[in-house]
Amino acid sequence: MSTPGETAGETVESAREMLPDNSFLIQYPHVSRVVRSLFLTAFVAFGIGAFMGVLQALHRTGIARIVESADYYTFLTLHGVLLAIVFTIFFLAGVFTWANTRSLDRPPVSKRFTWFWVVTMSAGTAMAGIAMLAGLLPSIDISADVLFTFYAPLQAHPIFYIGLAVFVIGTWLAGIDWFRQFLAWRREHPDERIPLQSFMVLTTMIMWFIATLGVAVEVVVFLIPWSLGIMPAPNPLLTRTLFWFFGHPIVYFWLMPAYLLWYTVLPKIAGGRLFSDPLARVVFVLFLLLSTPVGIHHQYLDPGIAEGFKFIAMTNTMFLLLPSLLTAFTVVASIEHGARQRGGTGYFGWLKALPWRDPAFTGMALAGLMFAAGGFSGMVNAGMNINYLVHNTLWVPGHFHLTVGTAVALSFMAGAYWLVPRITGRKLYSRPIGLFQVVLWFVGMVFMSAAMHRGGLAGIPRRTAEPQYPQVAFETVAGSVGSLRLQLAFGGVLLFVSALLFLMNVGLTAMNNKPARGLDSALPPALSGPEQSPTVLDNLKLWALIAVVLVILAYSLPLYSIVQGAGLYPAGQEASPAVIAPLLEVIA
């Protein structure tokens, strides 16, 4: 978000005075700046990641191979890390900073501390980014072609792991900042219910603190010392298990800011009110409790883990469907209420009364719809035995481009159309382009993800530069493999165009001289308010404790038996590629 020119600045400055007193930008100019800088990083990562995405879509289908197939995996690592970690989490940090401040109605405790975590997160990102990009330059002996699921014995340069650790510490500091802000509010309001948005931020962060312990141990205890050459190669199964301890809950870390927008912003845009505040709280508590003790469902096919442990993870996973199903109900009910307020009638007729021209609404509605489809393919993944048909096939990216790639990413884009004017004071550059862009994402994703799901059922593997083998003929259900490839690539191109339109629209908004208007920051109260819900829901300590106990129950035995099996540092394990020497050269 670049700074406007002198004259442009004046128009917007004077127009700012026309903003209502309770608009976010007027009340919290400094917090608005923090959110702007977080969004900037998120959108830069999004742009680069989307470019990698279209390269992959064209490459693996054989339509256009612009890079060497060996470099494909560098691009794929960048795509995964930039989109699934940097874009999502920086955007989350922006939304949470906004939401916590808005709902507690007070700024974070210390400006310095806030900037400190922003800088920490950015520095970690830069370090990991350098390590990944250097993989493209053979002259530099640094690489991190380990994909965003970095487990041993594939090895990245220590800078990559250290960067990730610094980044995660940055997110912890952010969480601490939001908690301090809440505690300061609590001192002034000892008897009030936690405001809903803040409640969502806090429960999500507790979940994150617990979840990141897994990856912190993996990276700090095992991977960093190993990549520095101080310690031997760790047990690969152990690093996988620690990764997935974190790797599943991160899914909900992506999703929670989207849910926050669906629960609190979407009803307002639709012209209505949230159906039920208590149910929203129940949903977030359920996510806090159930997000982590399920990670082993990513390891249904791992040897060395007993079937019983997989079974426990499967049961927990199925119960994790519950909060999402409840969300579907509440969100649809709230939207319907909005439509009826706007004069909609009939069983389905109310759908016509919704503000479909508003890209913020349509984007989130389409995102929610795709999430339903993603939920179905997710149930297949979760089904311990059906999973055998699809594990690590193209089905899996087909699934998560519906969930994180659309339910989350498209909600973020739609949310940006609503939020960016509120933190810049500038009018959205173009609503029609915005509308076209979100619909294009939907259409592109239907093409890409349908082709991926079908390719996966035929057994086409994911993460593969050239999934065309002399020994293997893939058999598809409907349509030929050739037509699936075309569909996948076509969808990928549409998605990339949509991403460019989004970045352009937001960029031009940030430079727009037309002031935004009517940016009242209040959100309408829920139809059933918080007073309807038992106060125990607000007892965060209790929920945190139960969550920890559930994690211990789900993980202590599997971890114990993995270490019993092959040990912490089993004999005969070797890094690939070994990158121990280069660090010393880099320092020297």
């Binding site: 690969p236 199964l237 791992d302 499967m314 409840l326 057994g459 086409i460 999934p467 293997v472």
Partner: protein
């Protein structure tokens, strides 16, 4: 706590759905006898596979009237052996392990699928009813040549199937990379 009637209905239906899913899976696991990859394969030293029984000479072994064992070593970037031949209507147990990094083992388009982790042995039992040719792919990224890692599985009519001697296989040990199994010699099954 006030809960709207529709909410209660939805909640009940959701719980029913979830319990339904869990029961189908329990039935699938216990009733229909779909076995999962678990910890039964045990552990090996990935650098000592040449001295590990089974993996020192990967390939097909007959262990019963209609039962076969197949030992497979995955390495950057091939499976050993590169061709597996089996008779139809047989029960086959695969033992797969890796010599270097994490790989995948998937008979494309079927549910014969497992991760292959260095130090661990994946054990899966599969029944092949129909003759046909299947592709085996590595579905886990394992390094820059990952996309060239595949093998083939040929299921023959039992009458057409011949295999090497089931007690002793005289051919090459695990020093051959990119090995293609020799489908000749031995008695017929």
């Amino acid at each position: 706590m006030h809960v709207h009637n529709y909410e209660k209905l939805w909640l009940g239906a959701s719980l029913l759905l979830i319990v339904g899913f869990i029961s189908t899976i329990v039935y699938g696991a216990a009733g229909a006898g779909i076995t999962m990859v678990n910890d039964e394969g045990g552990q090996v030293n990935p650098k000592e596979l040449g001295n590990t029984s089974g993996f020192d000479d990967p390939g097909v072994t007959k262990v019963g009237p209609n039962e076969y064992e197949v030992h497979i070593v995955a390495l950057q970037f091939a499976f050993q052996p590169g061709t597996v031949e089996l008779p139809a209507n047989s029960t086959v147990t695969f033992y797969v392990t890796s010599r270097d990094v994490v790989h995948g083992f998937e008979v494309a388009g079927t549910n014969a699928n497992t991760m292959v982790i260095p130090g661990e042995v994946s054990q899966i039992t599969v029944e092949f009813d129909e003759p046909g040719e299947y592709g085996i792919v590595c579905h886990e990224y394992c390094g820059a040549g990952h996309h060239s890692m595949a093998a083939e599985l040929i299921v023959r009519e039992p009458s057409n199937f011949t295999m090497q001697d089931d007690t002793q296989t005289p051919t090459s040990g695990n020093e051959t990379t990119n090995a293609t199994a020799t489908p000749t010699g031995g008695e017929s099954a």
